[in-house]
Symmetry: C2
Subunit: 358 residues, 2 copies
């Protein structure tokens, strides 16, 4: 199950899943909720999106142990109408609330064709792509988004104005794996800036603004000093405000600086993150075979398109993640050292010591 | 009403609106449809978005006269469910079909909280922002998007893969004008590349890929050679495919290369553009005063945020357009020379000769 003492270590998906589930149970979650949390985090790792997978388990455990997350919190529909609902997360684990919310959206979309479910009293929900993938697995188009404490500048601002506010969608695609995008509205993940700082390397001038609000190649003060740049300038900024509106403003959640800092606070207070899920039932709108065939044509066309000089393949969003996922399910997940370090912390907090982590 | 023989000429909004309406009527549109078309185009000019306003009137008239657009086309709901509808545009003017579609979405959102209306058999619809503004005027969140014939590369492609596929949203904002974003998913408008070519100037290497699919600073072959770069690389590419899905794939419209070239073909065939409108009734979800107050807080916070060195103001999406609009309604619209040139063509085609255009 393990490689020798290399930096990365290959772990079986089921082992990672079981460990994560046990850790959540040790923090007081009921088994079904612990499974949900484990499934979100281990699946995210299987896509190679290690920034949003089990690397954060220790952080979630900390909040569960100190009270900022409620182990027995029960998300519920606080208000609803024909094609919408607002879910109050009761400060349960963000993944538990988000899975409940996307399932609520699926049920409503099945009735009405489309549904919006907004979420308040949630927390960091991991990778937005998990929830849209869940919808696509059941044959629906899924769209997911979340707000977060500001870390991204606006064009002309000195500091952060919005969160990195992620946006994901997934679309069922016939014989192909669902088309799947999961992006932040910042140019780059904060973790990449921080990693450059740790290595003492300069960064491209499109990643960060410094203390004066102007682009900088110096990451040495980040994250205390500076803010990420929005993706494509006013476009990323504009999209982040739509996400803030649908996740935060319209749901009753916290927004911008009112959102708690889930990673760096004392862990005792709810963060009141917001999120939003939109689900569309393509089967209600177009015969399933026709939609599938049209999606296949689109993907075939992209795969057959001429390549730029030096390019080896033209990808549909999500293809790289699916390839990694399939490889991970066969050969295990090669966890990088930073993930292993955090998993060891989580194991200590949970009083667990799985063989593969020693 | 007019300035002297300068490059730009200032025209009263009502005069531009009346001329545009008369021109559409001359091409066979019924008066209410002509008013709709005029309102979309003149309002767009009033925002200073001259690339998508009356500059295109001559192009629409050409299609109306040669058969690619049907002057008496009547958009209708082809299929529908609780919170969705598909509108068949009957090859009517794209603005007529789009206004019908967004109004259909508003009516359904009023019942269900959210609605999706997809459109097929449409054409170029002008500025996406007009339709979201229309929804916001009535107190709804509006989202609008459209596909188009490919002009934008994907990461790794040699040529164009998707259209510039615009995305707009508008959100009512209490005492403030609606927050309004209207963006393409390309880095830059093709018109800007073409203008640089006309001036014989190099362009930034983030705008275009050349014949080999690699970034270039040479616009001299555009648009015959090269493709625009997607905004923020895989993010803009990914968003354009969501827009393609909701506008083209799911509606029965043409998609990618199947979409007609509304500007450069012989004008005789329908283009079968697709579009999609999503409307959310915030009043169903949250008390109106509460949502307004939260939006005002967000905007107040942005206005009060510290500025980057050298920046004079921090803007909420749409603010610049609203300022231009208010000035235009008071002082007239300063039409640039390229718009005037095209309006003169339109006047010739329509057999009109308004005093202000001579």
């Amino acid at each position: 199950m393990t490689k020798s003492a290399s930096a990365a270590r290959t772990v079986h998906f089921d082992a990672l899943h079981a460990f994560t589930k046990d850790a959540f149970e040790s923090a007081g979650l009921q088994p079904p909720d612990a499974v949900t949390g484990a499934d979100v985090l281990a699946t995210t790792d299987s896509w190679g999106v290690f920034t949003h997978g089990t690397k954060s388990l220790a952080g979630y455990l900390r909040r569960l142990q100190t009270g900022g997350l409620r182990p027995r919190g029960i998300p519920r529909v606080a208000s609803e109408g024909g094609a919408w609902a607002i879910v109050d997360g009761d400060s349960a684990l963000g993944m538990v609330t988000s899975v409940f919310a996307v399932r609520t959206a699926i049920a409503k979309a099945r009735q009405q064709g489309i549904a919006y479910v907004g979420v308040r009293n949630s927390c960091h929900f991991g990778a937005a792509g998990y929830y849209t993938w869940l919808a696509a697995q059941e044959g629906f188009i899924g769209i997911a988004m979340s707000n977060d404490i500001p870390s991204v500048a606006a064009p002309g601002s000195r500091g952060a104005i919005t969160g990195s506010n992620p946006l994901s969608y997934a679309v069922p695609a016939g014989r192909y794996r669902p088309m799947l995008l999961d992006m932040s509205t910042a140019t780059v993940a904060g973790g990449k800036v921080y990693a450059a700082r740790m290595r003492g390397e300069p960064i491209p001038d499109t990643w960060l603004v410094g203390a004066d609000g102007k682009p900088t190649t110096d990451p040495s003060g980040y994250p205390q000093i500076g803010a990420l740049q929005p993706a494509a300038g006013h476009k990323g900024y504009g999209l982040s405000l739509l996400i803030e509106t649908l996740s935060g403003l319209l749901t009753g959640a916290a927004f911008t600086w009112r959102v708690g800092n889930w990673m760096w606070d004392d862990g005792k207070q709810p963060t009141n993150h917001g999120a939003a899920f939109v689900v569309i039932d393509t089967n209600a709108i177009m015969p399933a075979a026709q939609f599938a065939s049209r999606m296949e044509s689109l993907i075939d066309e992209i795969h057959a398109a001429p390549l730029a000089e030096g390019a080896s393949q033209l990808r549909v969003p999500g293809e790289i993640e699916w390839e990694r996922h399939e490889q991970a399910m066969k050969q295990g997940i090669a966890l990088p050292e930073d993930v292993l370090t955090n998993l060891r912390k989580a194991a200590d907090m949970a009083g667990l010591s799985p063989e593969w982590l020693t």
